[in-house]
Symmetry: C2
Subunit: 299 residues, 2 copies
Amino acid sequence: MTVLGCGAAAPTPYFLTTSQLVNIHDQLILIDCGEATQVTLRKSRDKFQKIKTILISHMHGDHTLGLPGLIASMNLLGRNTALNIYGPEELEEMVKKVLHLTRTHIEFNVYFHKLNTEEKTTVLETESYVVESFPTKHRIPTCGFVISEKERCYTLKPNIRKKYRLTHLEIQKLKRGEDVYRGEEIIKNSGCCSPPMETRSYAYAADSAYSPKVIDAVKGCSLLYHEATFESKDVDIAKKTQHSTSKDAARVAIQANVGQLLLGHYSNRYSDLSNLLSESQEVFLNSSLSVEGKTYSIE
Amino acid sequence: MTVLGCGAAAPTPYFLTTSQLVNIHDQLILIDCGEATQVTLRKSRDKFQKIKTILISHMHGDHTLGLPGLIASMNLLGRNTALNIYGPEELEEMVKKVLHLTRTHIEFNVYFHKLNTEEKTTVLETESYVVESFPTKHRIPTCGFVISEKERCYTLKPNIRKKYRLTHLEIQKLKRGEDVYRGEEIIKNSGCCSPPMETRSYAYAADSAYSPKVIDAVKGCSLLYHEATFESKDVDIAKKTQHSTSKDAARVAIQANVGQLLLGHYSNRYSDLSNLLSESQEVFLNSSLSVEGKTYSIE
């Protein structure tokens, strides 16, 4: 997961508004699309035409304003593959209105899918992974997302390929956990492969106040990005605006027993983020501050 | 005039889409507002709340997509002074729809003024300067702008303030070209001041194909920014899309007898802009390439 923007509400000299790019098994999924997301994608040389799926958590501008421009640029640069966008119902109206009024004629298929903001729902399932949405607790209907691998394959031990001169098909079989039959000869999976590692999952919870529903939804995931807009001393503003303190985020992380917590969606009132981090680490040690441009891998 | 973005159509790793900030007599005017304009303004630490006037040339997204976010951020950061926006009729619909759907409640006054796309028109007049719009030649109704000083004041010669211990009111009189009466004593303007320099004017022509109407409108201006999307070898695409080559821009500059020409709105097909410049300079020597972040002063 690469953080493209991790500031709250409005861009600052230091942070852009929210967007993330997730690479799962070489498939690119964009989560949220604040203004200038396409600028960052272009500068980072990520192949933005490879994005097939966009997940939009809610309608606030710091999560949506970059979407019309991104679609327009995909079109201008010759895209001809379909784009699937999962988000709030009004998103389609906004994007289509802007494209219409800016005289942008999109020549590839864009499909809008309305998210369920009432309960956890599978929004997308492929051969190798599943994307689910779940409701968070915010001022307006908002969803978080969990992206999970279905299963990981067996890993070939060193030199096995060469030793048996394995064909591509035979490698696929072994990776699936099967044995390979060559007439009378059997190449046993157990002798060639290490068993699959645990499957990995990534959960995204922004924007949200502290919520038991979020804890249920992200239970046991490998990496959780949870918004941490405020320090504890600003808990009243957090409550009023239905955002989290970094301590709230850490409580979610520990109660959901996640592997690792990444904080973000920083309020522009803090010039120094170290309090956000230390307050989170007091509750959940494996917390870190997300950094724009940085890629976080789950190994 | 500070160039905030000078790329055409879609952001590239090198250029943002169009926006400029003009400072005339300490008044800030924003011209066009491509995506990420507010990001650049925030990074450059320009006081974006001081912008009272926004001029939008036409509806294409590379000139408009940053506007809803800019207004939303002005609001979020506590603006309470009015904002006047001069642009195409549909601009108001777009901005209001986006702000409505992203649940943004603007708490300062935003006034939209429809531009005349048929003939040169005064859109704004203050004590010290005038803003006019004029039609350009593009695929959709588009305006360029001329911002002109009305008159410049007389300049006090060195040490005159001290010599006569001038009051603030007396300085104002002398700067207006008047004499100062102190009972019997007369402080003659001619002895204290140098006469006013020529008034300055800035013209902006993007987007536009080569057009005699533009030449008429920008006649004699001190600095002309004219779009120069294409090299001469791509003149067919320029014609088809109703854009200019840099040679077209230079022809406008020489025929309008402007002081200086600044090229911009570069197509993303050129990794090297030196041909754009040399082809322009063959026709009009005082041409230069606009650079993002750079401020161009008229002295």
